[in-house]
């Protein structure tokens, strides 16, 4: 049982990180950036590149990867999201297509640069194995899970307790009204994509030692992150945390106690039940409208 929980939490942590990036971009823009999974994978490849190929010091590798992630996030906004705001008749759902397009392009670029064979991303920390509830857990697992817990909670607090965060919520609620109140939605949008890119790339350095750097992994991560978000509630960082962990745990338990064939089915059944009972997900709140 212990190992099922541990492996479920580790798997869930990966989805939480992707879901957090999705929420980060969705809050001030209403856009689900389906390239977020590919950005995470890009962080894994950069970790491999800097640490294994170049031999860069870890702190510098973190910094360069964070900057690269921010740059990719900004490019994503400029290429796949912003132009659609200028197109008459374009809807926010069109960005699903464009961000999937960016994801596909990124995967292709990774393939050209690093090939499609798995690359091992080194973990610079200790290699000792700890025991938790009688099961093995490695330092990289601890780092990944810590990041997956701290990042959404910190972002939740930031959104709730800072003016900039409140502005994000306001834009999510009503973009036009926010603009009229002086909120610079373009800056928020760029900032959100840059922050999500940074988070995704750094998370890639943490997930890479576990998953390896593989170009095609991005799609699976994006899908898992999206399901986590749907479970947890769109626009809620803590909901994404709960949703991601649930996806990981249910997937792991279904695999262990039923069959791996049913792991995806188990997750989707959970999603259906959740949405039937709470259409906004665990972390979403019902909208009230006075008539």
């Amino acid at each position: 049982m212990g190992i099922v929980i541990i492996s479920g939490v580790i798997l869930g942590a990966v989805y939480v990180i992707v879901a957090t990036g999705l929420t980060l971009t969705a809050l001030p823009t209403g856009v689900f950036n389906f390239a977020q999974g590919a950005i995470v994978v890009g962080g894994s490849f950069l970790g491999y590149q800097w640490l294994t190929v170049v031999g860069m010091p870890f702190a510098l590798a973190l910094l360069v990867t964070a900057l690269a992630g921010a740059a990719v996030g900004v490019l994503c906004e400029l290429i796949a999201v912003r132009p659609l705001r200028w197109v008459r008749g374009a809807e926010s759902s069109n960005t699903i297509v464009t961000t999937v397009g960016v994801s596909t392009a990124l995967v292709g670029l990774y393939g050209v640069k690093w090939g499609y064979q798995p690359q091992v991303v080194p973990f610079p920390g200790p290699s000792v194995v700890f025991r938790l509830f009688g099961e093995s857990i490695s330092p990289v697992d601890i780092v990944l899970v810590s990041l997956a817990v701290v990042a959404p909670i910190a972002l939740h607090l930031w959104v709730r307790q800072t003016r900039r965060g409140q502005a994000c919520l306001a834009v999510a609620e009503n973009r036009e009204a926010s603009m009229l109140r002086g909120v610079n939605v373009d800056v928020l949008s760029i900032g959100a994509f840059a922050a999500a890119g940074t988070l995704g790339a750094l998370a890639g350095m943490a997930t890479g030692p576990i998953t390896y750097a593989i170009p095609t992994l991005g799609t699976a991560l994006a899908l898992g992150g999206f399901v986590a978000l749907a479970l947890g509630g769109s626009g809620s960082f803590t909901g994404g945390l709960i949703g991601g962990m649930l996806v990981g745990l249910v997937s792991s338990a279904a695999t262990r106690y039923i069959n791996a064939d049913y792991s995806d089915v188990g997750v989707l059944v959970l999603l259906l039940i959740t949405l039937a009972v709470r259409p906004k997900g665990f972390g979403g709140s019902a909208e009230t409208r006075r008539v």
Binding site: S7, P118, E135, I214, S252, A260
Partner: protein, 416 residues
């Protein structure tokens, strides 16, 4: 070595092939490069040509480029080898390579274009080792006077009536699994766990392996996972709970690493045996040395330094400049052996005509069957029903401890 892809894409490709064929070929861009010596070699009749032209469809740009590049390197080494000796039966060999991005539909379309715009130019087509690509090429090749070689398996050509010019250097899919089951039996295991990646290739292997285990008196328990899985702890835990004494992993790429990590996470020192697909990659690059201890891989003898044929030295010596063997040597051998096969056929037939070559390959003489330059299998003898190599036997696989791959081979080659 066959590189699995989804069967669905193969079906789609086959449909597209028929469409392409029906509509004749349309212009398509291709990265065509001639290599080796000699001129263009174009002529209206391959039989009267002074050169032997070979068309190679190998992915050197797409998702399977790591494999395709190795196959092409092996093939070019063989071409260099024979050209340096004066050619095959006096004919210089010229290679035209087209990268198909590993996509069956693209490959078929490019092949139609190449064969229809250069009638009679090519003596042989090499379609690589990727199952769905080969399947997509078969209906095209059947319509042109050209022979084709591939390291495919028994599912590729069901009958010589539908693929009269297609020859497979290797035997049925189930062969390595027979070796694996025999190995399990020799170790005295009574219950084996099967960890299977849900892709078309491995799913086609598992039933045969289960049957072999049953024959050997070994029961089994199976856990499967999707190709998007990034952690196999739960699956391995399932096998541990089922009481498996050894685990057989049928997978490709990173899954081998996930399995070894899961075993360590479970603190379970069960022996792991990787199938031939999982073994087509240097598993030691995925995990630290302590994690791959007590694990084994299924390899062709060419991948084992102490078991490989002396001909492997010829391959290495004739590799194109700047080329390195980066994966297990069965991949370069996949490219090398078709040229050796062609040498056997042309030498026997004294002709490069497709009918004469087909007849020669169907009735290879003793010298052709046991050409010392063969690397994948020591002997080549084609089935009369589907042109697969019936001389490929379970003994043509070795099971050795997982070790680093250096120049395509593991250093220590004891048949564990």
């Amino acid at each position: 070595m066959r590189i699995p892809r989804r069967a669905a894409s193969g079906l789609a490709a086959s449909i597209l092939v028929l469409s392409v064929g029906a509509c004749s070929s349309s212009g398509s861009s291709s990265d065509t490069s001639s290599s080796s010596t000699g001129g263009t070699g174009a002529s209206s009749s391959s039989a009267s040509s002074s050169t032997i032209n070979i068309l190679v469809m190998a992915d050197t740009t797409g998702p399977t480029k790591a494999y395709g590049s190795q196959e092409l390197a092996g093939l070019m080494a063989a071409v260099n080898y024979y050209n340096n000796k004066g050619g095959i039966d006096g004919h210089k060999v010229v290679v035209t390579h087209i990268s198909d991005n590993g996509d069956p539909a693209t490959s078929a379309s490019l092949l139609v274009n190449e064969l229809s715009t250069n009638p009679g130019k090519f003596t042989m087509v090499y379609g690589g080792a990727e199952g769905t690509v080969i399947q997509a090429l078969i209906p095209v090749i059947a319509r042109y006077p050209v022979i084709a070689a591939a390291a495919g398996d028994d599912s590729l050509c069901s009958s010589v009536k539908t693929c009269p010019h297609q020859f497979s250097q290797v035997g049925p899919n189930a062969l390595p699994q027979q070796t694996d089951a025999t190995w399990m039996q020799s170790k005295g295991y009574k219950k084996v766990g099967i960890l299977e990646e849900q892709i078309a290739f491995t799913e086609s292997e598992t039933p045969a392996f289960k049957a072999d285990l049953t024959t050997a008196g070994i029961s089994n328990s199976e856990a499967t996972f999707t190709d998007s899985a990034v952690d196999l702890t739960a699956e391995m835990s399932q096998l541990k709970a089922a009481g498996a004494q050894a685990v057989f992993v049928l997978a490709v790429g990173p899954a081998a690493g996930y399995a070894l990590k899961a075993r360590a996470a479970l603190n379970w020192n069960v022996p792991i045996l990787f199938d031939d697909a999982a073994s087509s990659f240097d598993i030691t690059t995925l995990v630290s040395k302590s994690l791959y201890a007590n694990s084994f891989q299924t390899l062709r003898p060419v991948c084992v330094a102490t078991l490989a044929s002396p001909a492997y030295k010829d391959l290495v010596a004739n590799l194109p400049a700047g080329t390195k063997i980066t994966l297990p040597a069965n991949l370069v051998a996949d490219g090398w052996d078709p040229i050796v096969m062609l040498d056997s056929a042309v030498t026997q037939a004294h002709s490069t005509n497709d009918q004469a070559l087909t007849s020669a390959l169907e009735n290879l003489d003793a010298a052709g069957q046991s050409n010392p330059e063969y690397l994948l299998t020591p002997k080549l003898q084609f089935s009369a029903t589907n042109h697969e190599n019936i001389a490929d036997v379970p003994g043509n696989f070795a099971i050795v401890p997982v070790q680093p791959i250096v120049n395509g081979q593991v250093a220590v080659g004891s048949k564990s």
